[in-house]
Amino acid sequence: MIKFIAKRILQLILILFAASVIIFCMVRITPSDPVASMTQGRRITPETRAALEKEYYLDRSLPEQYVIWITNALQGDLGDSFSHRQSVNSLIAGRLPTTIQLVLMSAVLALVIAIPVGIISAVKMNSITDRLLSIFTLIFVASPVFLTAIILMLVFALHLQWFPSFGSGGSWMENFRYLVLPSLALGLNMVALISRITRSNMIEQLNSNYAMTALAKGIPYWKVVLKHCLKNAVIPVITVASIQIGSMIVGAVLVENVFALGGLGDVLIEGVKAADYPVVQGIVLMMVVVFLLINLLVDIAYAAIDPRIRLE
């Protein structure tokens, strides 16, 4: 087992190294000038340009810049943002909690909506209700997150005025109210997939021998559905949902932008637009690390449960 873990960690380090090189090169592909972006095209003297280039190591060769960046990053320092004049670490630290809260709330909302929808669709398989539910969930998956977000805002913030139209609130409790619409916008996108999986698993369980036996013994139908079948059907749903959280981070970028949440997404989009290399590199690298760590933990967990995986 230890050997397996060591091997996986070694792989992770190699992947991380390759990813860091790719990230570093990708942000520099567009033909933009970071100094011009910093000063937004307004005029500057050669001295200012030289001082700015020195301050951000832009006067060094690319390999040198990479080494400086990665050495500092390994020590936990992601460098300074060009356009914000503060460290990327403090940018991330200030914005990460909002993004995490948004993704978690969306996941919970998606599950709360999708699982009952899946159960109802399974129980009423091929009925009108089943069809309607599947049409509705498909609409949400087909609608871009951006559009869903704007429609929700116009309806619930502008016309009904039930929720604030932007921002993430001051206190932790207040945040819940502010994040309802953003989480819905993000979560609805996931409902279709999760409810379809719930539905197919539930159908399988409902047709299984133990469910028949339970019914034959006279246990009420709803009790068989909710107590026996749901328990078995829900496990694969959780697995899929946790993988989906990864793709939610991508959607979160758009939702944060629409609702002005001041999360990581905003600063990432802004960084891409402004050729703010340290910001883009730092945030993307952090996301890659998070992804890899989740995968590592899942792999280790699988290996712990199923010894065959260790031996392949």
Binding site: T30, S32, Q40, R43, T48, H84, R85, L91, G94, F166
Partner: protein, 553 residues
């Protein structure tokens, strides 16, 4: 194991349902009160001892530091906290602020008398030490201030009396006078800077100045909060707003919604394609503000086919600017003409400029003439060319219109739509083709003068020394006669002579047609009718103030 999961799921469901219901209820009641108060926020909170005024910005600020305040989101924040030796009044004229008076002793020597009754927001007196320190900090190349270029022509700055400051220039300059009216002339507290040197200008360190508001907090990507300076040095000034909040809202639709619901009271980032919606809202009032800018189509005069003056004239006379104004630009600007600026920059003897514009000859819309020009050019049968544009919706619509106008001449325009930073890189000569020319045939872009000076747009757009890498001369226009006239007026202190030199230069330029001046952009400021007392003009980058805003009766 399964039981654990089931239990956990049940818990998650229960908690989230409770949270959902709970937050739903509170939000409903809160939103109702908010909705009711939206129109009367100011009045209501004023009774409770001080109003809050909320401003929407479209992006986060660069820093809380005048040395880096050189854009339309950072300056409106910094300008409330620090002030300059001079400022611009509502007619764009220079007036003293932290200085009491100033004079040009000769062409290269300017003497400033500094006020001795000014205090910082902590109550301490502003000294000459603070003034000298602030100026020297921006002049020091290690600071890497975005405004360093303004001091390019300065030989020395010295203290020449208890409250007197003298600036010696390297050569006579018609534009030096404006520098102390910008953030380059803002005074910060030296003691405060030294106590916070590392964190100065960041959310942790903030800054201290003499302005009507002082820094309270900055949450990156979300908001900046300023509070009233109780020690404001001008005792006669009444400040009705206690808390000034700047909210960062990047998405246009969201900003408009927040204005409609009353969650924010003011913005200068009014999306021009949503003006109708805003005008329909009863709680909002829109103020049109002219700018010092111009939106132009620049021809790359260095490279074929636009190195041919007849090609440039053919294109310029094929484009109907009035039609573009009426159907696309609308309230977002005024139709362009023979000058790269609107009347906002007629700052010296305006009547001379008006009569010049009336008589000036330049290439304007005339399709028959366009065909004649093209027939005379090296490409009588038309050609194919590129036009670089940004993602802006108005600019895109204009580009499509131009594409169609030029199709009539059998000129095929390939639109190259790029992100804003790439567009900046094209416009300022950072992107070259293999032959060393700027890599576009035409570019649709804009420029806005730094100072309200007659040469504010003419010099950056036409001087040949601005045609190189990083230069603002997007047409790569090079004309020695024009250069000579531009330097002549830049060194002159005779207003009328300056105007005459500029008129001659514009005559030469208009014969060469390096640019088409498409329109002179306006900006719209939107404010909730619950407040009043706000005015702004085209110098608002430097002089925007919320000092006189107060809740409406």
């Amino acid at each position: 194991m399964k039981k654990m999961i089931a239990l956990f799921m049940a818990l998650v469901l229960a908690v989230s349902m409770l949270a959902g219901c709970g937050s739903g209820e509170t939000s409903e009641t809160q939103a109702q009160t908010e909705g009711k108060d939206a129109a009367e926020t100011g009045a209501a909170s004023a009774e409770e001892g001080g109003a809050t005024f909320t401003v929407a910005l479209e992006s986060d600020i660069v820093a809380l530091d005048p040395a880096f305040a050189y854009d339309f989101t950072t300056n409106p924040v910094v300008n409330q906290i620090t002030q300059g030796l001079l400022t611009f009044d509502e007619n764009n004229e220079l007036v003293p602020l932290l200085a009491s008076s100033w004079e040009a002793v000769d062409d290269t020597t300017y003497v400033y008398q500094i006020r001795d009754d000014v205090t910082f927001s902590d109550g301490s007196q502003m000294t000459m030490d603070d003034v000298m320190f602030s100026i020297e900090r921006i002049m020091n190349p290690d600071t890497a201030s975005y405004l360093l270029w303004m001091y390019d022509n300065v030989e020395s700055v010295e203290q020449t009396g208890d409250w007197e400051l003298t600036v010696h220039l390297k050569s006579p300059s018609a534009t030096w006078q404006y520098v102390f009216g910008t953030t380059a002339g803002h005074v910060i507290s030296k003691a405060y800077y030294e106590a916070n040197a590392e964190a100065f200008g960041t959310a942790d360190g903030g800054l201290m100045g003499t302005g009507p508001y002082k820094f309270d907090s900055w949450t990156s990507g979300q908001e900046i909060v300023l509070t009233k300076n109780e020690n404001y040095w001008d005792a006669e000034q009444e400040i009705a707003i206690d808390t000034l909040v700047f909210k960062i809202i990047p998405e246009d639709t969201t900003r408009v919604t927040a204005l409609q619901t009353g969650e924010v009271d003011f913005t200068t980032s009014t999306p021009s394609d949503m003006l109708e919606t805003l005008k329909a809202a009863e709680n909002l009032e829109i103020q049109d503000v002219a700018t010092l800018g111009v939106a132009f189509l620049a021809f790359n005069t260095e490279r074929a086919p636009f190195d041919d003056v007849n090609v440039r004239k053919a294109v310029a006379s094929a484009i109907d600017l009035n039609a573009i104004q009426e159907s696309i630009v609308k309230e977002a600007g005024q139709v362009g003409g023979c000058l790269p600026n609107s009347s906002e920059l007629y700052t010296i003897n305006p009547e001379e400029w008006e009569s010049y514009v009336d008589g000036a000859e330049y290439t304007s819309y005339d399709l028959a003439q366009a065909q004649a020009y093209l027939a005379e050019s090296a490409y009588p049968d038309g050609f194919e060319c590129t036009m670089v544009i940004s993602e802006d919706s108005i600019r895109y619509a204009i580009a499509l219109a131009i594409q169609e106008y030029l199709a009539a001449l059998n000129i095929t325009v390939d639109l190259v739509q790029v992100s804003s930073d790439e567009h900046t890189a094209y416009q300022f000569g950072e992107i070259y083709d293999p032959d060393g020319y700027r890599d576009y045939d035409m570019i649709l872009a804009s420029w806005e003068a730094d100072y309200p000076d007659v040469s504010g747009n003419i010099e950056p757009l036409f001087a040949s020394y601005n045609a190189g890498e990083g230069g603002s001369n997007a047409a790569v226009y090079q004309n020695e006669e024009v250069d000579a006239l531009l330097s002549e007026q830049a060194a002159s202190s005779d207003p009328s002579a300056r105007n005459q030199a500029l008129f001659q230069a514009m005559d030469l330029i208009n014969q060469d047609t390096p640019y088409v001046f498409v329109y002179y952009p306006n900006r719209q400021a939107t404010m909730n009718t619950a407040f009043t007392g706000f005015t702004m003009n085209s110098s608002w980058l430097w002089n925007m103030s919320f000092m006189n805003v107060h809740p409406a009766e």
